[in-house]
């Protein structure tokens, strides 16, 4: 045995000697050295390149519209407090610290955050706002009454690269001393002394790991940064070696404070659904609704404590564990002399203080953000949106959005009662005057970031397209007025190469001669189809195009009655033009884009184009009002508040596969679609489905009644519906209708004729 061993050793020595004399061995050694040098040089290149170049990709940050406060603004105290909570204001004033408020009944005191908009900055303001029955009663700042102030807009989401990493960059001088001290105390007490690694710490960790007392970190802040910044999370010896080399290189090239600042911005602090919270800047906002510089000692200690395991110490889900960890951090700080006993006692007795904000993920408004992204993609590259930290100010009104979501979800839950059939829907709400999209819902579950029906569900529109026919007619007042009698007798349409077409009324009856306004109000299909043929299908399609339908519509007879498929967004554009008196206003979701520093980059201005004569648009609106007053949507009256006059149109497609309602009040256009994704029949008409959602929506919005000034080229004249002749207010059933001057019927109905004669006789 011993001999054998001896023999082996001598043999080994022999091998070594021979190796030392072998020039291949020298070459090999040289090669290893060279490879090592190349490896280090490569690491060095990576360290410098990534550290000096763009250190972080900053996703574009997307904001809702800011709430405008001014005396008379139609905002209630309850709406206001919701808005404050949404934008992360905290209760209780702390001197001039921004982002805090106090409420006493209908009176609020608050300190706003400094903001920069496209048209300039608004500094932090100490405000007093009082609310009355009709909205904001008084508004004043430190120096007296104010006319107008913007509140911070709600952050509604980001445009992220694939891994959904989100952060808010901070500079070291904006980090509270307490937070830095806590970091040093917990993560790396020799940070300012070592050169990237702490051999003692590493040895301790190694011993502990090998002896089975558990895996210990032993990593310096520099090593942790290297690990997060450059390396994958696997735990191998080779990776550890790379980490050590890179940490040494980083320290060789950069100042301690640069490394610390980058660490503070890089560190992972938790998960908000699919969004990863990175950096203490975003951490402060996410957990405390606060800017990092304003964090207290206890709050700083909590965030630092969480670094070790953000989900393990999640203060929302594991408050006790998080509290223990925070207090351990405070204990370490006291032991190392960073804080006094008194500070320790005070801070460790404080509550966690995290805000109770609903999980948002990358966004709470996936459908709207989808629209924003698409409109942006016309002007920006994806990579820029994901990395340049652009600030996107949008038109979303969170209050309108909330009402729209609730209207759709609660109504569908009722319509689609047990068992749940998967009835779906979409809602879009826009401003009648400037075309801003205020709300967009693309799914019954508004948080679900899936198929966006408001934009992508192209469905037959049915009667919702009829206003295009009537507008075409009414644009020629010498031939058509609201009182013109239309023929609703059965019709057979034959076209070479197309199947015969014979439209039917919903009640399967024909109604003889009907006044034009009533044919629209009651949605008579035969009258509409006949009118469409008289006008010529291509002319009707041309009107649809003018109103804003951009896609090519097939020039077939069935298109007249809405066999053509459009998205809710396209229908909204069409009704937008009607609602704004014949001025087409492109629908917009974005107001402006700023750089991360607040420099104006691009505006998406309001643009208008008169595409329809205001008189014709007025006539169609008047006819669409009769739809609600006595037509297919009369059921809406009981749903809407007293005095809220609106215009709108129901749409129902074959076998009730689609239920539509499109219409407008004075201030808002809204379009609702209900149906199944697989095109099954729903058993809903436009009036029993979508119209109900629309009614809930408008009732919940405090909408302004529709009342357009009569253009000076028009007059009001009484007519008799049955004959279409001129009447007066005494005639039974007479209606007063608007006419383009000179187009009203001149022949009097018998009832008016007799009185007219009597009247004339009186003055003769």
């Amino acid at each position: 045995m011993a001999r054998k061993q001896k023999k082996k050793t001598s043999k080994k020595k022999g091998v070594l000697r021979r190796l030392a004399e072998n020039r291949w061995f020298h070459l090999g050694l040289l090669a290893v050295f060279l490879v090592g040098a190349v490896f280090v040089a490569w690491l060095d290149y990576r360290v410098r390149d990534q550290f000096e170049g763009r250190r972080f990709a900053l996703p574009a940050r997307v904001y809702a519209r800011p709430l405008e406060l001014f005396p008379g603004a139609r905002v209630s105290a309850d709406t206001f407090i919701k808005e404050l909570q949404q934008v992360g204001y905290r209760e209780g004033l702390r001197g001039q610290q921004p982002g805090r408020f106090e409420r006493r009944g209908d009176d609020f005191r608050l300190v706003t955050r400094p903001l920069t908009f496209w048209d300039g900055p608004q500094s932090s303001l100490s405000l007093q706002v009082s609310f009355g029955d009709h909205g904001v009663r008084e508004l004043s700042g430190a120096a007296g009454p104010l006319n107008l102030v913007r509140l911070d807009p709600e952050y509604i989401g980001g445009i992220y690269p694939a891994h959904n990493e989100d952060r808010v960059l901070v500079r070291l001088d904006g980090v509270p001393k307490a937070l830095v001290n806590a970091l040093l105390a917990v993560e790396d007490r020799k940070f300012y002394l070592h050169r990237g690694i702490d051999p003692m710490g590493m040895t301790r960790a190694l011993v502990s790991t090998l002896s089975g007392r558990g895996v210990q970190g032993g990593s310096t802040i520099t090593q942790q940064l290297v690990k997060n910044f450059f390396l994958t999370p696997e735990r191998t010896l080779r990776r550890k070696f790379t980490e050590v080399v890179m940490a040494l290189l980083l320290e060789a090239h950069y100042e301690k404070n640069d490394i610390l600042e980058t660490y503070i911005n890089e560190v992972y602090l938790g998960q908000d659904r699919n969004r990863a919270i990175h950096g203490f800047g975003l951490g402060a906002q996410f957990y405390f609704g606060e800017q990092l510089r304003n964090l207290s000692l206890a709050e700083s200690a909590l965030l630092v404590g969480m670094v070790k395991g953000p989900s393990w110490y999640d203060p929302h889900r594991q408050p006790e564990r998080a509290l223990k960890r925070r207090n351990l951090t405070l204990t370490l700080m006291r032991q190392q002399g960073f804080i006094s006993d008194e500070q320790y006692l005070q801070a460790s007795a404080a509550p966690l203080g995290v805000i109770d904000k609903p999980a948002m993920g990358t966004t709470r408004y996936p459908a709207f953000l989808d629209l924003v992204r698409r409109q942006l993609s016309r002007d920006y590259r994806d990579s820029d949106l994901q990395s340049e930290g652009l600030q996107i100010f949008t038109t979303l009104d969170p209050r309108v959005q909330a009402v729209a979501e609730h209207a759709l979800t609660s109504r569908l839950n009722r319509l689609d009662s047990s068992p749940d059939q998967g009835l779906q829907g979409a809602v879009i709400v826009t401003d009648t005057q400037n075309g801003e999209v205020q709300a967009l819902v693309g799914d019954r579950d508004p948080r679900f970031p899936g198929f966006n029906r408001a934009l992508d569900s192209n469905r037959p529109v049915g009667s919702v397209l009829k206003p295009a026919i009537y507008l075409t007619a009414l644009s020629d007042p010498s031939r058509y007025t609201l009182a013109t009698l239309l023929d609703d007798e059965p019709l057979l349409w034959q076209e070479p190469g197309r199947p015969d077409w014979s439209p039917n009324n919903y009640d399967h009856k024909s109604h003889g001669q009907v006044p034009l306004w009533r044919a629209l109000a009651r949605s008579y299909n035969i009258a509409a189809a006949r009118l469409g043929f008289d006008l010529g299908v291509p002319n009707v399609l041309d009107t649809a195009r003018k109103l804003g339908v951009e896609r090519d519509l097939p020039p077939y007879a069935s298109t007249l009655l809405g066999a053509v498929a459009l998205s809710p967004l396209e229908v909204a554009q069409l009704y937008q033009t009607l609602s704004s008196g014949g001025f087409r206003v492109p629908l917009r979701a974005i107001r402006e884009v700023l750089t991360p520093e607040g420099k104006p980059l691009q505006r998406y201005p309001l643009a208008v184009e008169q595409v329809v004569d205001p008189a014709s648009a007025y006539l169609v609106t008047a006819a669409l009002q009769t739809v609600v007053e006595e037509g297919t949507a009369r059921g809406l009256r009981s749903q809407l508040p007293e005095g809220l006059s609106v215009a709108g149109k129901t749409g129902t497609t074959d076998d009730m596969r689609d239920s539509w309602f499109a219409g407008y009040s004075g201030d808002r256009v809204a379009v609702v679609w209900n149906g199944f994704d697989d095109n099954r029949p729903t058993s809903l008409t436009g009036a029993s489905g979508a119209m109900r959602v629309w009614g809930d929506l408008m009732s919940g919005l405090d909408a302004e009644p529709l009342s357009l000034p009569l253009p000076d080229t028009m007059e009001l004249v009484w007519t008799e519906p049955v004959s279409g002749l001129r009447a007066d207010s005494e005639c039974p059933g007479a209606v007063e209708l608007p006419f383009v001057r000179g187009s009203a019927p001149t022949e009097h109905a018998p009832c008016a004729r007799s009185r007219g004669n009597w009247f004339k006789r009186l003055f003769r």
Partner: protein, 141 residues
């Protein structure tokens, strides 16, 4: 026989009140009564004088969000677009202003003058002449 007639009369009345309701709508005030809008209008004028036309447009759009039916704001927007040499938008904004003016002749006349200038600049002398005539007519009524 009587019943349907009375029903029709009922709807007739609704329709009448509805449509006449539109007609009785008072025209929007020519000068902003809302101090917020007045302040924005002043800011916009200052921005325009300083040649910061995009800012002026942004401020006017903000004012329009508060008072969308104020013809004065639309007219001011038309004027800024005229200064920016965007004659198409200038004419459109003035036309939009017209639809809210009501019976205020001097505002109407001013809108037609803006339309006239815009058309002239766009190389439509006949259209411009018609617009100027309209403006003159309104002033001498």
């Amino acid at each position: 026989m009587i019943k349907p007639v009375r029903r029709a009369a009922f709807f007739g009345l609704i329709l009448a009140s509805l449509v006449s309701g539109c007609a009785m709508q008072p025209p929007a005030p020519a000068t902003p009564q809302n101090p917020a809008v007045a302040e924005l209008l002043a800011t916009a004028s200052a921005e325009t004088r300083a040649g910061r036309l995009p800012q002026a447009i942004a401020v006017l759009e903000r004012a329009l969000r508060i008072e969308p039916r104020n013809p004065l704001l639309w007219q001011e927007l038309a004027r800024v677009y005229l200064q920016r040499d965007d004659y198409r938008q200038a004419e459109q904004m003035a036309a939009r202003s017209n639809s809210w003016v009501g019976s205020n002749r001097s505002l109407l006349a001013e809108n037609w003058r803006i339309i006239g200038v815009a058309r002239e600049e766009r190389g439509d002398p006949a259209g411009a002449r018609a617009a100027f005539e309209r403006a003159a007519q309104l002033e001498h009524l």
